[in-house]
């Protein structure tokens, strides 16, 4: 096909150079014929690709319409490009853009099991927000690839208050409240200042954000936040203010809620979130964390769909 296009270009140049004119009628017939051949070749290649990726008949129709008259090199330069197109099928504008296909293909190459999730989430995002969704998806994935490729946060560190700055009486209170007093000291450094004691009423609610689609939070995690602290940072560098590990960065977030059970008395410990580092990636912290040291006093975490968080893209 490329040879035919090249030949056509040579013929046109030759015609202009030799005759000082545009191609003759005979030559323009030849060009049309070559163009029609190249379309046919494109269609054959596209059908081959569609079969390889088992596109259904509706997908095949859209795929041929999108790429019949376009260069197909992108499909051969990078694996998963057809899968990327399929993920973005809901948006006929974005799905034909090379940059969208390339970056989404890169994401799928690294996250093969997330194809269906991404397709559904892309489709469920309003048309005007889909590019933001993709930008945030690529951003979070690129952070993982650069700073936490194993997804285990092994390089993650919090740079909060030193245990020596905590009064013994407060530490004792924390240990008395904790279901695992032997590990309380490992929590101190996640806060920037001395934790403040809070006595919650029955029904008091706390929240936690989890990358959208991930399993619910650990049944023992003490890291929670108040709704007002969450709302303050939603549009304002949420990941930075919460000092999130990279593995917890996401395009969108699910929000889980727990409440103090009836008949239970608890003590909460609030502190400012400390800055963090992770293999060169830094967050500033600054929002407020509420430590729940005995989860047995609190209800099972419930996913609150209407609180889903989709922050803006500001990177």
């Amino acid at each position: 096909m490329i040879n035919k296009i090249l030949l056509s270009a040579i013929l046109i140049s030759f015609s202009i150079v030799v005759r000082g004119n545009f191609p003759s009628i005979e030559n323009s017939h030849l060009v049309k014929s070559i163009y029609s051949d190249s379309l046919k070749n494109n269609e054959d290649s596209l059908t081959y690709l569609a079969n390889t990726y088992s596109l259904d008949s509706a997908e095949l129709k859209a795929f041929l319409s999108d790429f019949r008259s376009k260069q197909l090199a992108i499909f051969y330069e990078q694996k998963s490009t057809v899968a990327a197109w399929r993920v973005c099928i809901a948006d006929d504008s974005l799905r034909t853009q090379n940059i969208v296909l390339q970056k989404t293909a890169k994401f799928l190459h690294r996250n093969q099991h997330k194809s269906e999730y991404l397709k559904n989430e892309f489709q469920n995002t309003s048309k005007g927000q889909r590019s933001i969704f993709l930008l945030r998806t690529w951003w979070a994935d690129s952070l993982k690839s650069n700073f936490d490729s194993l997804g285990n946060s092994s390089g993650f560190r919090t740079w909060g208050i030193d245990i020596k700055e905590i009064k013994k009486s407060l530490l004792d209170d924390m240990k008395a409240e904790a279901s695992a007093p032997q590990f309380v000291e490992s929590l101190i450094n996640s806060g920037k200042n001395v934790p403040k004691k809070i006595i919650p009423n029955v029904g008091y609610a706390l929240y936690k954000i989890i990358p959208k689609g991930n399993p619910p939070p650990s049944p023992f995690t003490p890291f929670w936040t108040k709704i007002e602290d969450l709302q303050t940072v939603v549009s304002n560098d949420l990941e930075d203010k919460f000092g999130l590990p990279i593995v917890s960065h996401s395009a969108k977030y699910d929000v889980y809620k727990i409440q103090l059970k009836e008949g239970k008395k608890a003590i909460l410990f609030e502190s400012e979130i400390a800055p963090t580092t992770e293999n060169g990636y830094k967050t500033n912290g600054g929002s407020t964390q509420t430590l729940v040291l005995d989860r047995a006093k609190w209800t099972f975490p419930v996913l609150i769909n209407e609180l889903e968080i989709f922050p803006p893209f500001k990177k």
């Binding site: 946060s153 092994s154 919090t158 279901s179 695992a180 929590l187 989890i210 939070p217 650990s218 049944p219």
Partner: protein, 76 residues
């Protein structure tokens, strides 16, 4: 079971799960191993760097199944 790639944690997790399976298999006393499982999960949860490991690597379901089997041992 998916390994997280942090050697110490993987080693401890593997040992606990192996011991739990042996207790289930031999119908032994489950109290001690149930405590070990809970302590291990607490240790992970009480650290911001490791709190999401059990969810992200799919260990929660494994623990739930084991705890269910072990709890039957403590009741009988």
């Amino acid at each position: 079971m998916r390994h997280c790639g942090i050697v110490e944690i993987d080693k401890e997790n593997k040992a606990i799960i192996k011991e739990a399976k042996q207790v289930v298999f031999k119908n032994g006393d489950a109290k001690e191993i149930l405590k070990k499982i809970e302590d291990f999960r607490m240790k992970l949860a009480y650290n911001k760097a490791t709190e999401s490991l059990e969810s992200n690597f799919g260990w929660t379901k494994i623990y739930a199944t084991l705890i269910d089997s072990l709890s039957k041992n403590t009741k009988t």
